[in-house]
Each structure stands twice: as C-alpha cells, then as structure tokens.
C-alpha cells in the first residue's frame, strides 16, 4: 500500500491547518482513546490520565509531532520513523491492534475540528496514511 500523488497532496495541505492546533489535537485524541477504549490505559500505569493532566498533554504533543514528522517525509515514512519503529518493537511493545484505535481517534478529532476539509476523499487519504504509519511502527515486531 502506498500513497498516490493526490493523496500525498491532500495530507500535506491539511497538515498545514492541523499543525496550528497540534497540541490540542494530540491531547484530545488521547482523551478520546482512553474513554472509548479503556483497555489502552494499560500502557500508561505510570501516567496521570485525568483530563488536563500535564503528562497527557505532553504525550499528546509527542504523538502528533511524530505524525508531523511522517507528513514532512511523506515520501519516506519508514526512514522518518525508523527510531520510533524500533522503540515500539523492542521497548514499548504496544499490541498492534491499538494503532488502529489511536488512528481512529485521531481521525474523529480531525473530523470534528475541520469538518469542511474532511471530505470523503480526505478521509480516505488520512485513513490510508495512518495505516501506513501504523505498519511502519509495527514492522520490526517479529
């Protein structure tokens, strides 16, 4: 699975808008994840996950920044996320099913904040892009 030129253009152009709210989007994505899929909290026993927590905000920012890195190197996502891929495979070992859940919550957040931009075509491009990001992050699992 790889992105077409059109899909890349959609993602890069929307990222321009999304990045202006990056931190808030990161926090909101995680809030949605932990509320809708409480089992994902098992990866964060060391965190204060209450709404407004500094740790939640910091982690949300980190996650969105990584997505941004993938967008900036959209022609070489595997290269851009190589270090994160190893981190997830050898240290974090988050079960692969959770990447879909996080991706879904990010899409919900983006859809809620940018309804006019989140057309069916944009939705398809983003879903595909996040699917590729997830593949890269689980590539070294076994």
């Amino acid at each position: 699975m790889s992105l077409t030129k059109t899909e890349r253009a959609i993602i890069v152009s929307m990222w321009g808008k999304i990045s202006t709210q990056a931190d808030a989007i990161g926090t909101e994505t995680l809030e949605r994840l932990f509320l809708s899929h409480p089992q994902t909290k098992t990866y964060f026993p060391h965190f204060d996950l209450h709404a407004g927590s500094a740790q939640l905000r910091a982690h949300g920012s980190k996650v969105v920044a990584a997505v941004g890195d993938a967008v900036k190197s959209i022609d070489n996502i595997a290269g851009a996320l190589a270090r994160l891929s190893e981190l997830h495979a050898y240290i974090l070992r988050v079960d692969p099913v959770n990447f879909k859940l996080l991706s879904h919550c990010l899409l919900v957040t983006v859809a809620a904040r940018f309804p006019a931009d989140f057309t069916a075509e944009a939705h398809a491009a983003w879903d595909k892009f996040l699917s590729i990001v997830s593949s890269v992050l689980t590539e070294k699992y076994r």
């Binding site: 909101e28 809030e31 949605r32 509320l35 809708s36 899929h37 879904h104 899409l107 919900v108 957040t109 859809a111 809620a112 904040r113 309804p115 989140f118 057309t119 069916a120 075509e121 939705h123 398809a124 879903d127």
Partner: protein, 147 residues
C-alpha cells in the same frame, strides 16, 4: 447489567435526536465505500462507484444508506436487547447477504466519524465513547446469529 450508563444513554438520545438519518446514512455508507473500496464487493448492482464524487452522489448508495441507518436507529430504542432486536437482520446478513461481520465494525467507525464531522465540539470524548459502545453493541448483535 444495562448496556449504557444513564449518562451515556442521555448523550446518545440527545445527539441522535438531531441526526438527519437519511443524510447521515447516505454519508456513512458512501464513506465506507470510498475509504474501504473492497466493501464495494457487496454493491456491484449500484451503478457508478468509480470515484469518491460518483459514490457520494450515487442515489442507490444514498437510499441504501438511509435504509441501513433507519435500522440502526430502531436499535437505539432497544439498547438493552440488541441481540433480540437484530436477530433477524443477523440471519439475513449471514445466510443471504454473506457479509463478513468485520464490515459492521468498519461501518460503525465510519458512522462515528460522520457524527464527529456533523456535530464538531458537541461530539466530545464522552459522547464519542458512548457511541463507540453503541456501534460495538450493534456490530456484535448483527454477528450474533452467524453460523
């Protein structure tokens, strides 16, 4: 044990009251076919599905989306007996339509995204979580009679 807490139930009824079932149904089914093109395998008779705009504007897609969401809407009145409510539809989807239950999950998630798009900030994390429970329950009920 009831399926939703009173708070979740409140979130669901209050939001659903504002949903245009015809419009949202068409949008959700259309997006399913655009975002996950392999789902088009069930709709070969629907005519032009050649591009996102063809799909989203296709009258058969809109009509079928309305049908599907109306059934879903009916289920919202019976949240404590989803399996009973969807028993016949479950048998239909297994025996006649031959639909992989994974598709119910895909459609449920697309519906959640369409609701987020329509309601914006009002579709906050708590409301969202309540709806994830509902779509999971409906997907589960629709798969329940499979054999």
């Amino acid at each position: 044990m009831t399926f939703l807490t009173p708070e979740e139930s409140g979130h669901v009824s209050s939001l659903w009251g504002k949903v245009d079932v015809e419009k949202v149904g068409g949008e959700a089914l259309g997006r399913l076919l655009v975002v996950y093109p392999w789902t088009q395998r069930f709709f070969e008779s629907f005519g032009d599905l050649s591009s996102p705009s063809a799909i989203m504007g296709n009258p058969k897609v809109k009509a079928h989306g309305k049908k599907v969401l109306s059934a879903f809407s009916e289920g919202l009145h019976h949240l404590d007996d989803l399996k009973g409510t969807f028993a016949q539809l479950s048998e239909l989807h297994c025996d006649k339509l031959h639909v992989d239950p994974q598709n119910f999950t895909l459609l449920g998630n697309v519906l959640v995204i369409v609701l987020a798009e329509h309601f914006g900030a009002a579709f906050n994390p708590s409301v969202h979580a309540a709806f994830q429970k509902v779509v999971a329950g409906v997907a589960n009920a629709l798969a329940h009679k499979y054999h």
